[in-house]
Symmetry: C2
């Protein structure tokens, strides 16, 4: 039998005050009583994804970070620069829970058969507020983990796996035959590489360091282009010509890279062009920015004709667009290949309190490839 | 009866040599004999549109312009900067005719009834090579002008009118209810303003000078935002909130304006937002770049959430997308409202040779709002 749940437990909260102060703290909150169709999940593993950092720290300048409180109940504070407060207006003075996804054990269940069937099971869940010791969830939204999977194995069942699959599906839906991915040595990037190798889809991996290129090549990646090399643009053009990739998913966002990908796509297309078109090729070239590793401006040198698009891409609008049946098929694939195609690796597992130490933040807030933290809230 | 056509006549040609030299000249070419379903049009009016300048001068630096030849047969030359030659590769060493559209008199016709029916008529035509004294065209592609219209009235029947109508159709097709237009005091912009006033569609006009704002307001424009005012962003946000415009057509391309429009759209949407969304509003915001008045990089400060898109927009792919029946309906509207909604104004009418004088080029190559030239090739 599982341990009974306490009446109160810890939840991580992020608050941006309208005076520009960020405060991140652990709050003792009431553990919810599951409704008839709900279960209570003791969260045992929840990743710190780049997509969590925006909510966690807002637009605060982490150079101004200060810690008060105790080691068990740290309180972080930092300043949000005045010019960034406009973007924070919608969340000002609201204490918000954080954490997109996680996994753990169902310790209490509502009266319905579906809820009762989950009691004692390890499940993966998504829906926010996962940086907490307990989370109540509709039974229907729980993904039961395979018997041999730990909570850590199932912690990243949704965001990265469905994002990687969503990129491949978007590529197909929009009529492209191969794709480009930046920050390609990330957990997500490695996952996408495994999907593309398994499914026989052309993938051009863009990385920023030779060791990242080596890592992906060891994992069988066929096209890896290293931004740090002077030959980057030529190698990218060669890889684009070889694969026919005309859609890219860019995690970086700022700087020139998104535009350079379009430039190289056009150059690759024009290698086979038969006659001059003053508006550039008629082949549509698309770059989706799905991340913000560089929050600076995107600079686009428009030397790739007129058949191009750039835009934001997010998992949840994608899932809404394809509808519940298609989304369910993707979730089933994730569960079936959880310990192979969709395996995640973490550099460290920390408690909620440890996640709020400056030493930990200095590592995970860099969003550096290869540094991925897992929180185990059951450690306090 | 119309004058018989000569056996040879003038045609303007643009040539970028692979050594980086641009040469623009008037060539004496054979006047084509129309086929059975074709007519020969004596071109009497053909506009210099911004969309013609790219083919006319390539990527040449007009600061290096030199003139040789005679007053009747000038030969222009200029240097294409080395770094721009990559983009010229597709047209290198090919002598290309120029001029998207024009109007004139049918002076010869093929044997078919359709062709014969056009003999002596004034028609508008599109298809390139209009900067010439004669142009052979399929009879089916000629738009017969109303009896009271001159060639000058019909010279700009296609590019601007169909572009303006195409913007409104794209707005509707993509589910938006009002639109934004930049460089809005241009001939095209004034036309779009007349369409929107007539059809009751919300239009936000962005201009760069107070006198352009005044001109549009005199023509009944309801929302005019002047980039030169310090209050520009606030006024734009107000106009976007008032109209609900979430799609923009930008003629400028370079610089920050396209991104600023997205920023203000998001701010206008968030005025009525009920709860905080860390990814910004879910309302899709779109900016299409259809022109290149500023050929510099596009700089996008991404502070407008993730539901956005930016891309190229061109008339011909749009017409292909909507199909021939829809395109024909738009053409019929242009013919019916040629002297009202779709009237163009020109600052000067020049001969082919005069169009190649440095004094004329200095004016029309600036692409300045309010300066529009018409060529009458029948003047030589």
């Amino acid at each position: 039998m599982t341990q009974p749940a306490p009446s109160t437990a810890l939840q991580l909260r992020s608050l941006v005050r309208s005076n520009g102060e960020l405060e991140v703290s652990l709050q003792e909150v009431a553990v919810p009583e599951p409704g008839a169709d709900e279960v209570l999940v003791r969260i045992e593993a929840t990743p710190i994804n780049p997509s969590d950092l925006g909510l966690l720290f807002g637009a605060a300048d982490l150079g101004t970070l200060q810690v008060s409180g105790t080691a068990e109940r740290p309180v972080l504070s930092a300043r949000v620069p005045d010019k960034a407060m406009k973007a924070m207006a919608g969340r000002a003075d609201q204490s918000l829970p954080v954490g997109n996804e996680g996994a753990g054990t169902v310790v209490k269940a509502g009266a319905s058969a579906a809820a009762q069937a989950l009691l004692g099971k390890k499940v993966a869940v998504i829906g926010g507020a996962m940086y907490a010791q307990y989370r109540s969830m509709p039974a229907a939204q729980c993904l039961v983990l395979p018997a041999d999977a730990s909570a850590a194995d199932g912690a990243s069942c949704f965001v990265n796996p469905l994002t990687a699959l969503g990129m491949v599906e978007t590529m197909k839906l929009e009529g492209h035959k191969a794709l480009v991915h930046t920050a390609a040595a990330s957990n997500l990037g490695q996952m996408l590489n495994r999907i593309c190798l398994k499914d026989g889809i052309g993938l051009v991996n863009i990385v920023r360091k030779p060791e990242q290129a080596a890592l992906l090549r060891e994992q069988g990646a066929m096209h890896v282009c290293d931004l740090s090399l002077p030959s980057f643009m030529d190698e990218l053009t060669d890889a684009l010509a070889a694969t026919g990739a005309t859609i890219a998913f860019d995690a970086i966002g700022g700087g020139r890279l998104a535009g350079q990908i379009l430039t190289c796509m056009e150059a690759a297309i024009n290698r086979n062009a038969k006659e001059y078109s003053r508006y550039g090729s008629a082949v549509h070239k698309q770059v989706y920015l799905y991340g913000m590793l560089d929050t600076g401006p995107t600079e686009v040198v428009r030397n790739f004709g007129m058949a191009w698009g750039m835009g934001g891409w997010l998992l949840f609008p994608f899932l809404q667009k394809v509808g519940p049946a298609a989304a369910q098929k993707l979730r089933e694939r994730v569960a079936a290949e959880l310990k192979t195609t969709f395996a995640s690796r973490y550099t460290r597992t920390v408690s909620l309190a440890e996640a709020l130490t400056p030493a930990a933040i200095a590592v995970y807030a860099k969003r550096a490839t290869g540094e991925k933290f897992l929180i185990d809230p059951s450690r306090g």
